[in-house]
């Protein structure tokens, strides 16, 4: 059984490798603008990184601040889940009016895309902490801050990580959508939208493959690396 699983895994890797090679050949063959593609990719990734980092910092910080009190936490939960069910792209037109067609629009869209997912999951994790652990903390004479820092956050870490994972996926989606509507010069979303105007099907498909590749990379490899180094190592999964 184990042998078969290993065999399947090997085949999997081969399939993915073949896919990636095909896509690289394809995009090199059809991209006559090849050096510029790097600029597009870097620009997109940097926007995504900036928005995502802001979302992580603010999401975790605010939910920790809110989560100190049980009632405020309960009050925030449905409101956050309502904001989460708003499609991120609907913010883009209003952001275009408020901030103009600038980098800020895209970064804020990415931020909004992942912020609520991160905050929702962090709050959810803090709600579901084993009450006995908190009682034990009180017995040991911890104050509220120590309970939060030493018990609640480590205990809800799996949920926080789920939020971070969701955040990456959402912000990647938001990035491509926002770039289509709001970017002026660079970005993968812009590239795919601009090639429609020039009726350049090959360039469009190769950009699609690049988007798929980076989405795959961000969703899978990054998350697997983070997961293996934290919760898998701690035996939580």
């Amino acid at each position: 059984m184990g042998n078969e699983a290993a065999f399947m895994k090997k085949q999997r890797v081969i399939v993915i490798a073949v896919l990636i090679i095909v896509f690289i050949i394809y995009s090199i063959y059809y991209n006559t603008y090849s050096p510029k593609i790097l600029v597009h990719i870097l620009k997109s990734l940097s926007r995504m990184l900036l928005g995502y980092i802001f979302a992580v910092i603010f999401g975790i910080l605010i939910s920790v601040l809110v989560g100190i009190n049980k009632y405020i936490r309960m009050a925030c939960n449905p409101i956050i889940s309502f904001f989460m069910s708003i499609p991120t792209i609907t913010w883009v037109p209003i952001l275009l009016i408020i901030t103009g067609i600038t980098e800020k629009t895209i970064i804020i869209a990415v931020f909004l895309g992942s912020f609520f997912a991160i905050m929702y999951n962090t709050l959810d994790g803090m709600n579901n902490v084993d009450q006995n652990l908190i009682r034990m903390g009180k017995v040991l004479g911890y104050n509220n801050f120590q309970i939060l820092y030493k018990i609640v956050i480590p205990a809800s870490f799996v949920q926080i990580l789920t939020g971070l994972k969701l955040g990456i996926a959402y912000s990647w989606r938001a990035l491509v959508g926002a770039e289509m509507l709001g970017a002026t010069q660079y970005g993968l979303g812009y590239l795919i939208f601009a090639s429609r105007k020039f009726y350049d099907l090959n360039r469009m498909i190769s950009t699609l493959l690049i988007i798929a590749f980076f989405g795959y990379l961000l969703n899978r490899l990054l998350i697997i690396i983070i997961e293996e180094n934290t919760i898998v190592r701690w035996g939580l999964k």
Partner: protein, 254 residues
């Protein structure tokens, strides 16, 4: 009972307080009401829009059609992959394509199909398809092997095995797939409507309001798209879950 009251009251108080603060800020000219209209203005502008139901209806219609087609397609292909071992590569290819945001298919379809409903539904089908495929495959892999063995012993045919053994066993994953595909397709359809719709649709309404600088309609559209999805999830999907997986004891009701 007390728990339920505690669950409902604080969010309402917090929400109303925030809305009140926003209203007051707008009325006292502390924020620019041309950019950030007050909740009252948003509400009245939504009431004034005559074709608001037409917008909502056409968005919902597209959503339902594309989820239905995508669900059936995803389910069929998942069954195919799980039954024929030689099809395993399809799973990898699909997990690769799953990471393409739905909206980036839109320019391709606009170019090949043209503007309008067909493009939006095509993109919707693609977005609905992948989560279903993925979840059903995962569910089929997690089925207790003994159940399959028993069904072989009583010599069920392929169809009987599917309907009597496999389908009930993966019901949990089927509902998750439904939820995910609804969520993703709703997002994508609103997005695609912005660039590909010609007449109606919530996304079209929001994007059209941008050209007229009508920010209260835009905020109203944001609000509506959240509320509609919230209703879909809490009325339809939750009830489906209640009558199947929760009733059968496969999952705890949250």
């Amino acid at each position: 009972m007390r728990d339920r009251i505690l669950k409902v009251i604080p969010p309402i108080i917090l929400g109303l307080t925030l809305l009140y603060i926003w209203q007051q800020l707008g009325e006292r000219d502390l924020i620019n009401t041309a950019l950030f209209p007050t909740p009252k203005q948003i509400f009245y502008s939504l009431l004034d829009t005559d074709i608001i139901f037409k917008h909502i209806y056409s968005s919902l219609l597209r959503l339902v059609i594309s989820v239905a087609i995508g669900y059936v397609l995803g389910f069929t292909i998942a069954i195919l992959i799980s039954n024929f071992k030689s099809m395993f590569f399809l799973e990898d290819i699909s997990s690769f394509f799953m990471s393409i945001p739905g909206i980036s298919w839109a320019p391709l379809f606009i170019m090949t199909i043209g503007f309008g409903d067909k493009t939006i539904i095509a993109v919707g089908i693609i977005t609905a398809f992948f989560p279903v495929l993925y979840n059903v495959l995962y569910g089929l892999r997690e089925i207790d092997k003994n159940l399959i063995n028993i069904s072989k012993i009583i010599e069920y045919s392929f169809l009987e095995e599917l309907t009597m053994v496999k389908l009930p066993a993966i019901m949990n994953y089927l509902t998750i797939a439904l939820k995910l595909s609804f969520a993703r397709t709703w997002r994508t359809i609103i997005a695609v409507e912005m660039i590909a719709a010609t007449m109606y649709g919530l996304g079209y309404m929001i994007f059209d309001a941008r050209e007229l600088f009508n920010s209260s309609i835009m905020f109203g559209g944001i609000f509506l798209s959240g509320v509609i999805y919230y209703l879909i999830e809490s009325l339809i999907i939750k009830n489906i879950e209640l009558f199947t997986v929760v009733k059968w004891g496969m999952r705890q009701h949250s």
